[in-house]
Every structure is written in C-alpha cells, then in structure tokens.
Symmetry: C2
Subunit: 303 residues, 2 copies
C-alpha cells in the first residue's frame, strides 16, 4: 500500500468533540485510514497550565505517530491555542490545528459578504467558544492577521448541555421531539443559546459572521441558526470543524501524502482510542460522529 | 495556645464547593482556626480513577496536616466516596467525610416523619448528586446501613449552572433579580431543576426527604424548595454540608480537641489555599462561603 494512495491520519482531542472534525474529514479522505485519540482521562485541558497541556498534547501526538499517522489533526481548540507550535517542533509530520482554518474561513466569508455590500464597514466576526479558548485569545490573533476583527464570547454551559444530550434530534429539516421531557431539555438549551447570543450581539453589533470555536458546537448548529433568526440577526455561520477538514485535505495533497480521491475509492476506515471509560466514549462519541462508534480501545498515557 | 481551646481544622475539596461546609462549620468552632484547600488544578475528581483520587486526596490531606490541622474534613463527595478509608489509614488525625453525616441526618428526618405518620411505608430518601457520586453509590450504601432506602439521581448540569452563577440572588425571603438577563438565567436553572426533580420523583415516588449530595447544591436550596412546592411534593430537605459541620463539632468535643464554645469566643479565623487560579477561587469562593474570600495562596502539589 503506497503512502500516496492510502494515508493514515491521526486526529487528537481531549475528549469527544474532535469527532465533529473527523465527521467532516472522512468524506474527504476516501481510501485513507483515520486513527482518533480522545485523551478523556486528562480532560478538561481548559483548566490546566500551558506546560501541562503541552506535555499531554505531545504524548498524545506521539502515540498517534506510533500508530502510523502521517499527518496530525489537533481537533481541540485548547490544545491548538496553547500547544500547536510545540507540537510542530516535536513531530516530523505536518500538524493542522482548528484555529487558523476557522479564522481563514471566517475571513473568506466576511470578504464575500463585504463584496455584496456597498458599505465600507470593517469586517467583524463573532467567535463563540469555551472559557479556556476565549482566555487564550488565539482566534482574535488569528483573525487579526487576516484583517478581521474578532469578538470572542465564552459560552461555558454549551459543552455540558451537548454532552448531556439536551438537544433536539434533527432529522433532515424536521425537529423530532421524543417526549415532553426531551422537549423541556431542548427548550432549556434554546434559552441558554438565546442568552449567550443576544449578549454577544449586543457586545459586537457589527458582526457579519458567527464562528463556532468549539468542536462541540456543530451539534447545536440548527438551534443556533433558529436562535439567530429569532433575534433578527441571521449571521453567516462558520464551522471550524468543516474548515479544518478542508485544510487537512489540502495539506495531504500539497505534501503528496494523498492523491485527489477517485470516485470509486472505498470509504475511509477508522480506529478509536480513549484514555478513560470506553463505554462513555462509545455512547457520547456516536452523537458527535453521526454514526456508531464501536471497538474503542483503552490506552494508558500516564498521569 | 492549648489545643483543646483553639483547634486547627483542615477542610479539603477538589474545588470551591466545600466552602459550603466551611460556611456551616465556622459558627460551630468559634475561637478555632480553619485551613481550607481547594485542589482546583486537578479537578474534576469525578472523571479520574480511584487510584488517582486516593493519591490526590492523600497529598492534599498531608498538606493540611503540615499546616497544623488536628482534624480533617473531606468536604468533597467524590473524595469521600472513593478515598475516605485510605485517608483514615494514612493520617494520624480524625477524618470526617460528607456522606455518613448526610445519610444519618436523612435517616433521622425520615424517622421523625414516620413517627408522625400512621402508614408503615418503608423509609425512602432521594439523593441528588453529581454523576461521579451517583456512580460510586456511596449514599445508597450509607443509607442502607441505617435502614433507609436511597434513590440516587445524577444532576450533571447543576454544578456548571452554580459555578456560572445562573442563580437568583436571595436576600432573606425575597428574590432579587438585577436585570432581564439575570432573570432569564435564573429561569433556566429553575427549568433544569424541574426536569431533574420531576424525573427523580417519578422514579422514587415514596421519597419523604431530599438529600443534597453535592457541596454545590446548598446554593440552589431556595430554588429547590420552590420547585418541590410547584411539583406538589414539599419534601424535607437534608443538607449534607450542615450535617457534616455538626458531625465535625461533635468529633472535636469527643476527642477533646475543642471544649464547648463559650458565647464570648472570637470568630473562627480562616486561611485559604488553592492549586490553581487564585483569582477564580476568590471570585467564585465568595458565593459559596457567603462572605468575601481573600488572600488565597497558590500552592503546588504536583501533577
């Protein structure tokens, strides 16, 4: 099997969220093989020091490299914000994080919006993310390099709401509510989104686009779209997960790790590793990947 | 200064929650000195293995003993559930956890309720707690020893809601809402409580008492009382924090570490230590202690 035909791609996150990146990546790497590691025993990274996060990220990345990864996707906003350069220094393979692709996609969207608009307002993007990511201000820096002003808004309750599954089941365009309690749960999440987004729009009224700066948030996308519409502010939504998957496909071709995918290539295959509770990973992970996650293997990377 | 007059008491939690225990303890140990350690760098304990939690708890306890603690309060449900016996083996001072005092207070309350009731229904208590505490089933075991049947209900969203301050400001019997967004936040928490408590009561309809099995929950007590009243089930509420403080005062006197407090003893003094972000500890901690938390000292207990 030649490397230029069937690449092995390592995808790493502190938990399950990075599976939304893998979900977008799989259709772009047909014929390839993806190895996903969720460092669930050591999450959340957000409350740890930079030194600790760098150490954890490098040990996770080395594990994936030993499993054959020819490219590493850091599918974790905190690890990207705090450890991307260190990972690039430590590994001999290309490393793609989630922040620069997200910022670039936001800049492109704002450029398009401005082209259709005669007003010469400065481009501005609203970034919703976790407290840790907002604290690191990595999106603000990445956007500034592209001439884009970013306002970051921490939304700490969204990750627990997604992990608890307090979201409406989307089936195409139709929202399915299984029972009264599920409806009440989905309604709580809708109200939380309304509070966060109305505060964020008050703080940055000129925003044209909303960047989902956390790998958990794509699961809330339909509800976020509804909330923005209700608030009369249907912003263009930029999904870091999708932008990152596209950046990975580009790098794989630029580095000749993968040839352009032919239409008859088989689906990409996956292997999953977690550092804690395989059962929880399989149960939660399926929601993020959008298909069953099975045969997760437990791995010990130390304390 | 004689030990029997001015005891030093160590109070340990993985975070800020244990400050609700300290809050109940201070009025009972006038003239004494309390040293509080929040192991915030290594929280949450709930997602860690038993071995890791035991190791963390023992290193935290040894730190407090070195600071002069003559009694240790494990003001953390997870550490109590998973490491109490190991802490008692490792330390030469009395160790009091939060679970047995909570279970005992629930059994006493149910006994009183049964005395006033001619029906011979078995005593049953509903325990609300975090996923980690429910998973350990320590309350179920502690209650069973006292002839009390416990039904445990995990309420994973309550800790983040309390930590984010999405609660109504209570001022005596009056709820003060500062502005529309604060009202919307408090309403979210009320709806989340209604979902959890109605599900719990459906699962355990014979419950007479509700035990708050997490040190964060006393901050929600007024809202929990309102919700139970709305549901037509005004259960007797048992607060583990209060029961634990009373158990500590009892042990201090039994072991002759403290004499019964005289009415003119000065207020107990406090020292605070945290293993991460002193600023966050001071900001959040004040809510839990019900008075300003200042001069928190950073301490490094290792990874």
């Amino acid at each position: 099997m030649s490397a230029s035909h069937a690449p092995t791609i390592g995808v790493f996150d502190s938990g399950f969220g990075g599976l939304t990146v893998l979900r977008e990546l799989l259709p772009l790497v047909s014929g390839g093989h993806c190895v996903y590691l969720g460092d669930t025993a050591r999450l959340p990274y957000g409350s740890k020091s930079r030194e600790t996060i760098v150490r954890y990220a490098i040990s996770s990345a080395r594990f994936l490299q030993k499993r054959g990864a020819e490219l590493l996707v850091v599918a974790c906003n905190t690890a990207t914000a705090l450890a991307l350069e260190e990972l690039r220094d430590a590994l001999p393979i290309p490393v793609v994080g989630v922040i620069d692709p997200g910022a670039k996609a936001a800049a492109e969207a704002c450029y398009e919006l401005n082209r259709c608009n005669t007003a010469e307002a400065p481009s501005e993007v609203l970034v919703v993310a976790t407290q840790a990511t907002v604290g690191a201000q990595a999106y603000t820096r990445a956007c500034a390099k592209l001439g884009l002003r970013a306002t970051e808004k921490a939304c700490p309750l969204l990750v627990p709401l997604v992990e608890e599954g307090w979201i409406a089941n989307e089936s195409g365009d139709k929202v399915e509510i299984a029972n009264a309690n599920d409806a009440a749960r989905a309604s709580v999440t809708a109200q939380v989104l309304r509070i966060y987004l109305s505060e964020a729009l008050d703080a940055a009224p000129a925003s044209r686009a909303l960047l989902l700066g956390c790998t958990h948030y794509p699961l809330l996308r339909p509800e976020i779209e509804r909330t923005l519409a209700d608030l009369g502010r249907p912003l263009c939504i930029i999904d870091s997960a999708r932008a990152t998957a596209q950046a990975v496909a580009r790098v794989l071709q630029e580095k000749s790790i993968m040839r352009p995918t032919s239409t008859d290539a088989p689906d990409a295959t996956c292997e999953f590793f977690a550092t804690d509770s395989v059962e929880k990973f399989e149960r939660l992970g399926s929601r993020f990947l959008g298909r069953p996650v099975a045969d997760v293997q437990l791995v010990d990377l130390g304390g």
